[in-house]
Symmetry: C2
């Protein structure tokens, strides 16, 4: 007979998630909790209270990141961190970000409840402004920690009302010392909803995330000539929309030949002058593609260049940005996978198509992520949904992994 595993308190986790969901609750059961807003400050205050009630030390760094630490047997040893973010987009959901913080809190509560004394410190991180919904860019605070963003530049970023990030941070009361920033640790683990449909479609309980995929994003600009829609024969037109349509078709044809895991999107598309009686003289559209293999992204870039070069009208492709695939720490990923296997949960190794604080933290600390299913793949919307059972399974994998790492 197998030994009963020590596990988390699922009722307490759901209660905690419900409490967090009350901070910024929207009419349709979603959440609006923009970074450093009153709602975010309420959520931070609640998180702080819960941690202090557990006897954890809560530290703040100069970016408003919160670190709640259980010292363990050897407070000087490199800590093991878990966490995510408490901010949401406008009319977002009840799971994105907060699940990783609430589950981490539940893991620490369970450790304490069960009288486990970790060999190393165990901590929970709440990263500031992951969504970038109030202050762009997203993953701002983890990006500064990782040296990806310049702090002074970020501090001047403004919200739509002209309030700077620095002002909002100061006003929140959640500012501490730069010395408290995450700089070294045994590991960082982020539990998050998938925000995609793969686990649901494949009826899997857990995603063991290997990487955040690399991507490239281009802007295509096609220039034609406007003329009167009624008086210009078809053969004498330089219709930018017709040319753009041919480009889009070519992109679909060529990109479909690449790896089946490639995702690509033309999401932004504007036509000028956009009048029904005038032949369009300009189309500008975005095309972005994501894949874990650098060689596939390179192939995408070659296709974009070729298609634009062969366009029927004057066209240019401008690379707006790109990022390389961030591979998580193989040891920590293996630990997550082993824990999942031992728990008997169905799972697969997978990639993250979305960005997360973990991708920046991976440059500082050995990192891995755990995904749980998103119903319909929906996120950043009030309809975002992951069942309590699925949340509990994710938190259980987190707990199991932490237990392997703390001894």
């Amino acid at each position: 007979m197998k030994t009963e595993k020590k596990t988390i308190n699922s009722a307490r986790l759901t209660e905690t998630l419900n409490t967090f969901a009350s901070f910024g609750k929207t009419a349709n059961n979603g959440v609006t909790r923009l970074s450093l807003s009153k709602e975010d400050i309420d959520a931070r205050t609640y998180f702080n209270e819960q941690c202090e009630a557990l006897g954890l030390t809560v530290q703040l760094d100069d970016l408003g990141n919160m670190y709640a630490i259980l010292p363990g047997k050897n407070p000087k040893k490199p800590p093991i961190f878990m966490g995510s973010h408490l901010d949401t987009v406008k009319k977002g959901g009840r799971f994105d970000g907060v699940l990783g913080v609430a589950a981490a809190l539940e893991v620490v509560r369970s450790i304490i409840d069960q009288g486990i004394e970790p060999d190393t410190p165990v901590g929970i991180i709440n990263f500031t402004n992951e969504e970038g919904a109030r202050f762009e860019p997203s993953m701002m605070a983890s990006g500064i920690i990782a040296g990806k963003f310049d702090k002074e530049t970020m501090m001047k970023k403004t919200d739509p009302e002209g309030i700077t990030f620095a002002e909002a941070l100061q006003a929140s009361g959640f500012v501490g010392n730069k010395a408290n920033r995450l700089d070294s640790a045994r590991a960082f683990l982020e539990l998050h909803i998938e925000q995609g449909p793969i686990l649901e479609r494949e009826q899997l309980e857990i995603g063991v995330v290997e990487c955040v995929v690399g991507m490239c994003c281009y802007e295509i600009e096609i220039t034609g000539k406007s003329n009167h829609a009624g008086t210009t024969p078809q053969t004498m037109r330089s219709d930018a929309l017709t040319a753009a349509n041919l480009c889009m078709t070519a992109f679909h044809q060529e990109l479909a030949k690449l790896d089946s895991e490639l995702v690509y999107t033309m999401g932004r598309f504007t036509v000028s002058p956009n009048i029904h009686t005038v032949i369009p003289n300009k189309v500008v559209f975005s095309i972005e593609a994501r894949h874990k293999d650098e060689s596939v992204i390179q192939e995408v870039e070659r296709i974009i260049d070729t298609v634009v070069e062969e366009a029927t009208l004057s066209s240019k492709a401008t690379k707006l940005w790109g990022r390389d695939t961030v591979w998580f720490d193989s040891d920590v990923v293996n630990q997550v996978e082993q824990a999942t296997t031992d728990l008997g949960y169905s799972h697969k190794r997978m990639v993250s198509g979305a960005g997360h604080d973990a991708q920046f933290i991976a440059g500082v600390v050995p990192t891995a992520m755990i995904f749980v299913p998103s119903t319909g793949g929906i996120s950043h919307a009030e309809e975002e949904y992951t069942s309590w059972e699925e949340c509990v399974k994710g938190a259980t994998v987190l707990y199991e992994t932490i237990q392997r790492l703390i001894n």
Copy 2:
């Protein structure tokens, strides 16, 4: 030896066109002369002065339309009218509309100069608000005359500053009696720039316009589902832009099989939510088509319905409006063609793809139009250009045709 034909004074015509071009002249040699604006009132005042100096009677109707009449031998006989409009779009050209008024003025001046006493009255009309650039719709005053638009509704139309058409009309001082409206006449002739590239391409001097083509205009709406661009596999997407791309391709394929004179345009195209990282959930675009044969337009409508029915996502086609081809009076058209032939000008019978006051007046009075070339097919732009020589040829055809009609 052929008898030297009596002809117009080309220097005087170009001087008149230059004077009109000074009312609302823009930095780049274009014209902004919105209907009933100060610039339009200046142009009207100049026109009125020139007509009165010739001894013409200038009448106004209740819509601000101006009728300058040379009584001729039999003032009670149905008059022959020529004309067009003096208003322009914002940053329009020096020829659209005003050429038809200035040439008519030159024709009457030449009649008087040359001591011709017409058997019937000969008049010049300046129609109010043809462009619809200040008060929508275009061809407003001729449309009211023809019973196409309701006067009370039109009077309430406002410009971007909230001024009604009625207010602007009253303030202009150019309001007369409804009894003066055009109601019966022997003929109406409108000389106009082609606003298309056909005459220039075929190196022809004159277009003998047979009709204003019929058209249909649809709005296509395609509904998909937004999802995260990074996390949603290609096979699980309901991308409205991808579906729209396929529809556009099908439209091009099918419509290209129809008559070569068909013109069709997708001019307005909007994508939602129009964010590069989000799969589009909606595309709405316009498709309009124009052809002189009703059967071709019917075929277009069948294709639109079929393509939309077979779209890969939920789609609907809404017919925004349509209009039948307006055929000009065959007798008057023949007179124009005969006059052109006799003058030795190269020409062709052609259609008008754009709308003109003449298309509404054709329902009231036997009507025809004369086109002269537009360089590059450009109109409604400061670059609009027709050489003085081409303008003179158009006015000469107008004069020659009038001479045939007045006796």
